[in-house]
Amino acid sequence: MSDDGKFEAPGVFTLAIIFLVTFIIIWLAHAKWLGDIWELY
């Protein structure tokens, strides 16, 4: 069954990729906002 070249659930796979991209964008935004505050350690 596996690796027979075809996707079982292409629709959900697309949604999943959209999710991952959103995730990364929001994560990077927070990394930027963190850099804007005073230095702290």
Binding site: S2, P10, F13, W38, E39, L40, Y41
Partner: protein, 177 residues
């Protein structure tokens, strides 16, 4: 079907799309994990790591000592919170209690201060606005934050951990010159 016992050996290889998704997700998770230790070396904003036990009395003594030594006035007519301009080479003590941050501080831009935070009574939340820098202040513990203001201006310290009915009036002041 997920509500019945699967027959026989269900330990089978994973389908292609699930395998690809699994790998992509795993890679991203590892990135966001290793960011944390790496940020401690390359980053300029990390949670402070130095803390000690301290009694309310001892800490209060240190605060008053610093205020005596470095007070340059009060914060104004409507309130008489001492305004203190500490020496960047010496520890700074900021006291949280119901419901005030004591004293008010005047700091110099781009100087690094060792700010000791502790509470006299309940938990308090040290929250510098508008930059939104948040730390916990716990009674019986001294949390030492090395803070370097990078912009001048007039800042506020809010309390963002519930500390009773006066919680919303607990606002302190930091000037950066």
């Amino acid at each position: 079907m997920a509500i019945y016992e699967p027959e026989g050996n269900w330990w089978q290889p994973i389908h292609k799309d699930e395998k690809i998704w699994f790998i992509l997700a795993l890679i991203w998770m590892l990135v966001s994990f290793f960011y944390m230790p790496i940020q401690h070396f390359i980053g300029k904003q990390n949670p402070p790591t130095e803390s000690y036990r301290v009694s309310a009395e001892d800490f209060d003594g240190l605060v008053e000592g610093m205020v005596k030594k470095y007070q340059i006035g009060t914060t104004g007519v409507d309130n008489d919170v001492p305004l203190v301009q500490p020496n960047p080479d010496e520890p700074v003590f900021l006291r949280a209690s119901m419901w005030e941050w004591y004293p008010a501080l005047r700091l110099e831009k781009d100087k690094t201060y060792k700010i000791h935070l502790s509470s006299m009574d309940l938990l308090h939340g040290f929250s510098i606005q508008p930059i939104n820098l948040n730390l916990m202040v716990i009674p019986g513990y001294d949390y030492i934050a090395n803070i370097k203001p990078t912009r001048t201006g007039d800042y506020r310290i809010l309390c963002n951990e519930f500390c009773g009915v006066g919680h919303h009036t607990m606002v302190g002041k930091i000037e950066v010159i």
